[in-house]
């Protein structure tokens, strides 16, 4: 007993310093500011918006097979296959497509084509009726889905970053459910954020067929003699103020699409109305120049182009002159809409649509009130406990109180070092840690009292009390840590915050109640090992 007391005291002081550093770092400005920079508060304490959204990854599979159908249409003639039709038939199975009408002599040519690199992600099966069925490989689907989720997160992050939100959290959420968690501190207009995240903003410029426009799809079909040309598509316009929406016939393949845009900025047209100014990449600019030069007014084939946003015609303009790398989109925008839209254009389209599962917003004033109440509760609870320990255990109460304070310092230091988030239930976790910390001390003290009643000397009583209580302390703490760990694994947001502080607190607790309190007892007994009286 009493061995290495100096070293042990030094260790305790070092731990105290280390974790105090964890809480305040290198102090700068006010103490409050230093702490605020180290301890991260959850949205429930500082205010902000919490969104959980689901990415419909199956759509990405569908659009991939759509592209494969197009690819087949363009590859098959080159491979000497004529008359066969690739198509997707079953909407319930977006991952598969069939090729029907394959002439008997062309089957092997088709097989050769399908073994090529363009179709590597498909399993090919020839059907008894001579058709071929392509199904995307499960590994390819998984891969595509996870890439879709990653791209969605990337796109959402860029959009959020450009909104200027500080310290946003954007990450995968749940266990393999293709969900994304978005946490935006200080944002209290979730509707606008939802709108910006959700918009696809798929921008493209298509050539407009000179037949048309028509007032409705029925009229368009009549005008076209009942069928839409295979390389074209009918699309509805927006209709500006006073004018009804018209239906246009557009070339299916876009002249310029999302990937070709280099930049988009909100600006104003000559009449001062908000519009969007865009720039194209160099390569796309060259292509666009060639196209507009061929079809400008006065050329042999003058034409018009349509600016299509999310499958709706925003604007149709006749091509006045050759355009190389920039243009403008006008429409009935407000300034805010023009800003949001150009933001979406800059960041590109989401690879699949999304839906919101959860939206939670905490206003800043509620956050401030909550943290105030939480801290008040913690301070009152702790003060009451400390006073009681002093009254009930007299001198030994000081050990318990010191251990409690150190416990709190270590716990908060942990939070500072690990950048874990302190939530409101987290504060409750702190309060519970205080309760359990007291429990450990009570266990030890009651055991020491028992030993003293049995007539042991002070030193032996301390020795025996700690030895007996240790087993129980470990058992109780491990059981609670087991449940806290499970809570952390399976819980969400606030519940997790609670599990984090509880686990840290209990770990700190084992150290402080067993080690620190012991060192204090030992240093008290050091001077007079035989005759010392314990104040307990």
């Amino acid at each position: 007993m009493g061995k290495n007391l100096g070293t042990k005291t030094a260790i305790i002081l070092a731990v105290l310093l280390f974790f105090t550093y964890g809480i305040i770092g290198i102090p700068h400005g006010s103490l409050k500011q230093s702490i605020a920079d180290r301890i991260h508060l959850g949205l429930d304490l500082k205010g902000g918006t919490h969104l959980v959204l689901a990415v419909h990854v199956a759509e990405a599979v569908g659009s991939t097979t759509d592209r494969t159908v197009q690819q087949l249409e363009s590859d098959m003639p080159g491979a000497g296959i004529a008359g066969a039709t690739p198509a997707k038939l079953d909407p319930a199975h977006p991952e598969s497509l069939t090729i029907t009408g394959v002439a008997v002599g062309q089957a092997s040519a088709l097989r050769t084509l399908l073994n090529g690199p363009n179709y590597a992600s498909y399993d090919v099966a020839s059907q008894p009726d001579g058709s071929f069925k392509l199904t995307m490989k499960p590994s390819a689907i998984t891969d595509l889905e996870s890439r879709t989720l990653d791209t969605s997160i990337e796109t959402i992050r860029e959009r959020i970053d450009k909104l200027g939100v500080s310290e946003p959290i954007i990450q995968k959420y749940g266990l393999g459910d293709n969900q994304i968690l978005v946490e935006l501190p200080g944002v209290d207009d979730p509707a606008r954020v939802e709108e910006i995240i959700q918009s696809t903003a798929k921008l493209a410029i298509h050539a407009v067929d000179p037949r048309g426009p028509w007032a409705s799809e029925t009229e368009a079909l009549a005008g076209l003699g009942g069928t839409i040309p295979p390389d074209s598509v009918l699309m509805k316009g927006e209709g500006s103020a006073g004018a009804p929406p018209m239906v246009y016939l557009l070339k299916r393949a876009a002249e310029v699409e999302g990937i070709d845009f280099r930049d988009a900025q909100p600006s104003q047209d000559i009449n001062g109305r908000p519009n969007i100014h865009f720039n194209l990449t160099t390569e796309a600019g060259e292509r666009f120049y060639k196209y507009t030069d061929e079809h400008k007014q006065g050329s042999s084939t003058p034409g018009a182009m349509a600016i299509v946003l999310d499958n709706s015609v925003k604007e149709v303009a006749s091509i006045q002159s050759a355009i190389r790398d920039s243009g403008e989109i006008t429409g009935a925008f407000t300034q805010q809409q023009a800003e949001d839209l150009s933001l979406m254009l800059r960041t590109g389209a989401l690879p699949a649509s999304i839906s919101y599962l959860e939206t939670r917003t905490v206003g800043p004033s509620l956050g401030a009130a909550s943290i105030h109440q939480g801290i008040m509760a913690a301070v009152f609870g702790m003060a009451a406990v400390m006073v009681f320990m002093l009254i009930y255990y007299r001198g030994a109460g000081i050990n318990a109180d010191l251990a409690l304070v150190l416990n709190l310092v270590i716990l908060l230091g942990f939070l500072g070092f690990t950048h874990a988030t302190l939530t409101l239930p987290g504060i409750a976790g702190v309060i519970l840690t205080i309760g359990m910390g007291v429990d450990s001390n009570v266990l030890i003290f009651e055991r020491i009292r028992e030993e003293l009643r049995a007539g042991k000397s002070a030193a032996a009583a301390v020795q025996g009390g700690f030895a007996h209580a240790l087993v129980t302390i470990i058992d109780t703490h491990v059981t609670t840590i087991v449940s806290a760990a499970i809570l952390f694994l399976f819980g969400t947001g606030p519940v997790r915050g609670f599990a984090v502080t509880l686990t840290f607190g209990l770990l700190a607790n084992i150290v402080t109640s067993v080690f620190v309190s012991r060192v204090i007892f030992d240093s008290h007994l050091k001077n007079n090992p035989r005759g010392a009286e314990l104040s307990i």
Binding site: S355, D439, D475, S483, A484
Partner: protein, 322 residues
């Protein structure tokens, strides 16, 4: 100062009273869950929209109600937040049920409520303190997660106690904790308070806490068993409870003190959380003495009776063979 010096209470002798007490509260809670208030689920689990508004002046509830009616908001519920003291609060919760079975348009209600508020209260002023909108998928998911988290943490503790003691100890502790959970959720049902995510955190805390209390008693039983193998289990259990009694009362009392300060100072946001803990600490302390420990003894009695019967059954057969 010492509260309990050497108590010598026959805890096991009171087991029928305990059983009666536990049955009354469990059955009352169960009946309320089944036939009265059900399990009142908050927006976290049920889905729907909940908007907390703070008005600059104390609002007239009827006025708020008619503002919502005029804006075409349907099936809404208005609840004034009480802030403990007799003071009238100017905070109001407006809650709407979930408006479709799918996640699309999960926030239709929000816009309507906001419009109604800004149309009617733009002069007197209001602040939106909190908005929670939970779609059907998230609601089900959160509910599933909460149930699984509880079951898994019970299983984890059962396994640990099995490893440290014996299986029966783990089973007895889990039964005690299950009893606490049932009664606490019953208390929520009886008082018609909503279960939310934070309340689930509190229930898990109480499970951990009650388990603690039980483990302390069990530890002592194990220690005493090792000291005297001759005495019957009931005597040892009784002595162990008495020996740990002063610790039990002190620790529970002090934890109760911290939880009580949470209940008093924690504010509306933590009300459900701290209510669960206040009930939970009381019932958790009680159950380690009144449910878990008697179960150990009952199980042992049952086993030794079975052994005797088995012996009685095999003996004649043995004789016959001889």
């Amino acid at each position: 100062m010492e509260l309990f010096r050497s108590t010598n209470i026959d805890w096991l002798g009171k087991k029928w009273y305990f059983l009666g007490f536990s049955l009354i509260f469990s059955v009352a809670g169960l009946l309320s869950m089944l036939f009265w208030h059900g399990i009142p689920k908050g927006v976290d689990f049920k889905g729907g929209t909940q908007i907390t508004v703070k008005f600059d002046q104390v609002p007239n509830e009827d006025h708020v109600r008619s503002a919502m009616d005029h804006a075409g908001v349907k099936d809404f519920r208005i609840q004034r937040i009480s802030n403990g003291v007799s003071q009238v609060s100017n905070e109001v919760i407006i809650a709407l049920p979930i408006n479709s079975a799918t996640d699309t348009n999960h926030d239709q209600g929000r816009a309507a409520v906001q419009n109604a508020l800004s149309a009617n209260y733009h002069d007197s002023g209001f602040t939106i303190l909190q908005e929670d909108i939970v779609g059907p998928t998230a609601g089900k998911q959160l509910q599933k997660q909460a149930i699984y988290a509880t079951l898994y943490s019970l299983l984890g503790m059962l396994l640990y106690l099995w490893f440290r003691f014996e299986l029966i100890y783990g089973v007895a502790a889990v039964v005690a904790v299950f009893h606490d959970t049932l009664i606490t959720i019953g208390a929520f049902s009886l008082t018609n308070q909503e279960l939310t995510l934070t309340v689930i955190a509190a229930i898990l805390t109480l499970i951990g806490y009650s388990m603690n209390d039980t483990v302390v008693v069990f530890d002592r039983i194990r220690e005493n068993l090792a000291l005297s193998r001759r005495e019957d289990l009931a005597t040892i259990v009784n002595r162990s409870i008495n020996q740990t009694l002063s610790r039990t009362v002190l620790s529970s009392g002090l934890t109760f003190l911290t939880v009580l300060s949470l209940f008093v100072f924690g504010g509306e946001v933590l009300h459900g959380f701290s209510f669960a803990l206040v009930v939970g600490i009381l019932i958790g302390t009680y159950s380690s003495i009144a449910v878990a420990a008697p179960m150990l003894v009952a199980w042992q009695d049952w086993r030794s009776r079975k052994n005797q019967q088995a012996k009685a059954a095999t003996l004649p057969a043995g004789r016959a063979r001889a």
